[in-house]
């Protein structure tokens, strides 16, 4: 038997279509799997980071409030230290002075965190507001 009849009688069409589909599907699956191997390996190698990230997540939500306080407390000098550092600068200014003048002179003298430091001195009543936008140095707190 020859020709298309031989192909049809021996399931040639089905064998060709099914065979081609299976080999294609097999290699597509294999290529997908091997394309993911390095990602899975990276994930496995960083598993401790990933696990710790999941574990720390609830704490991280509460953290911001505390973090600000902790940052301020740990990094900024105490009020006493700030008074000692800023007293020489105040002596250069004429009282009453504006906070912008104090900020400027603190910045020029490379004082760390001038904004936070001035705010702290204000909160500790070392810098006393005169009500017209100017401030004076409270000598009594020293």
């Amino acid at each position: 038997m020859f020709g298309l009849e031989n192909i049809t009688n021996n399931d040639g069409w089905a064998m060709a279509v099914v065979g081609a589909s299976i080999v294609f599907m097999g290699l597509v699956v294999l290529s997908f799997v091997i394309s993911q191997i390095h990602r899975l390996l990276n994930l496995w190698e960083d598993r401790e980071k990933v696990i710790s990230r999941f574990k720390q997540k609830p704490a991280a939500v509460k953290a911001p409030e505390k973090a600000e306080i902790v940052y301020g407390d740990q990094r900024l000098p105490s009020v006493e230290q700030l008074i000692n550092a800023y007293k020489p600068l105040i002596e250069k200014l004429q009282e009453p002075f504006k906070l912008s003048q104090l900020f400027e002179i603190a910045k020029n003298n490379d004082m760390p965190h001038p904004h936070l430091s001035i705010q702290r001195l204000q909160e500790a009543d070392v810098l006393v507001a005169q009500g017209d936008g100017t401030f004076t140095w409270n000598e009594s707190i020293e």
């Binding site: 040639g12 064998m15 080999v23 097999g26 091997i34």
Partner: protein, 375 residues
């Protein structure tokens, strides 16, 4: 005394030879010439060529000499072919020699290896069209995979009487890659496409290389368990190489073992081309269909790469599609050379090897699928 002399002379090859033996002896000499002088696949063509010479020396039947005679030495050696032992061993050695890192770096190139297998299924239809029996048609079609051991393995299972012509056709076309593939590649691609540069591959970690043979054997052999003798051994060889703790075994697999199997495989396949068995109209049909299979496989790889380019942002050089046939490393080398001819700074060898190695896996799966259709 004269009677004894005449009796002896009547048993000599000179007396018993007919024109078909001489034709095959010439074919054997051509194989030896191509292998030694032209250096076309010498590791295969030299043992096959010499086997053709040995197999076509006429002898008096019944002495237990010929490869098809029970209890002959050649018959015992040939058992490794008919049982599928040699192809499996060759696959183990191949696995131990293959570096899959280029494939792991660019898994999308595996699709080109799949596309190039389409030649097998077109040829299956062609062989049936020309009147071959289904099992014979499947054995002929696998030539399109361009993989000698796979062709021999499947033919041994489905149509053992055709091992000689199919093996000779498969290995001949593998040796003729520099002649067959370039015109097809040029015909199906534009100069602009041939100039497409492939980006350098990423570095592949040792762990990836170690996991690949395990993932490969599990995925492929669950899909086509009949491919186990080939793919099981291929991935075993590769795991021996990559695990790094059995270097002695890996070195032996990629040298002494594969060399021994190749010698016996080539030599006995050559011997099996005895003129009375080999020179038949069927053999001519097999050679014709084999050429068709190989050409369609090359073309379908190239065309599929062009289709992929329609959807990809980073274009693939379509020449790589021709390396989807599993002729390692011949077709990858041919792709590389053609790429270099167009642009001396375009190096496609490693990308071609990725397609090549996926072609090896693909053709072994195809063999398993075709075998399973007839179980």
């Amino acid at each position: 005394m004269l009677d004894l002399l005449f009796q002896f002379l009547a048993n000599t090859g000179y007396y018993l030879a007919d024109y078909r033996n001489y034709i095959m002896l010439v074919v054997g000499c051509i194989f030896l010439y191509l292998g030694t002088a032209k250096k076309y696949e010498p590791l295969l063509l030299v043992p096959i060529g010499f086997g053709i010479l040995v197999g076509n020396i006429p002898f008096f039947k019944g002495f237990g000499i010929g490869i098809y005679e029970p209890n002959s030495v050649l018959h015992y050696l040939y058992f490794g072919v008919t049982s599928g032992v040699y192809p499996s061993i060759v696959f183990m050695g191949l696995g131990a020699m293959t570096d899959f890192s280029s494939l792991l770096a660019q898994p999308k190139l595996m699709l080109l290896g799949a596309a190039a297998q389409m030649g097998i299924y077109f040829t299956l239809l062609g062989a049936l069209f020309f009147g071959f029996a289904p099992k014979e048609a499947a054995s002929i079609a696998i030539i399109g995979g361009a993989d000698g051991p796979t062709s021999i393995f499947l033919t041994a299972k489905l149509a053992p009487h055709l091992i000689g012509p199919i093996a000779i056709a498969a290995y001949s076309y593998m040796a003729l890659i520099p002649v067959i593939q370039p015109p097809i590649m040029r015909l199906l691609t534009t100069k602009k496409e041939r100039l497409i540069k492939m980006p350098p591959s990423r570095t592949v970690s040792k762990k990836e290389l170690l996991i690949f043979p395990i993932a490969g054997v599990l995925l492929c052999c669950f899909l086509a368990p009949t491919a186990l003798p080939l793919l099981g051994m291929l991935f075993l060889g590769n795991f021996l190489k990559e695990c790094g703790v059995v270097n002695r075994l890996a070195n032996t697999a990629q040298s002494a073992i594969i060399d021994t199997a190749t010698i016996f495989l080539g030599f006995t396949v050559g011997c099996s081309t005895q003129a009375d068995v080999f020179l038949t109209p069927k053999s001519l049909g097999i050679f014709f269909l084999g050429a068709v299979a190989f050409s369609i496989a090359t073309a379908s790889g190239v065309i599929f790469a062009k289709i992929m380019n329609m959807f990809l942002k980073n274009k693939i050089n379509p020449l790589l599609g021709a390396a989807g046939v599993s002729a390692v490393p011949g077709s990858a080398r041919e792709v590389h050379l053609m790429g270099l001819k167009e642009d001396p700074t375009n190096f496609l060898l490693m990308h071609g090897m990725a397609c090549n190695s996926s072609g090896v896996i693909g053709s072994a799966i195809c063999a398993g699928i075709l075998w399973s259709f007839f179980i």
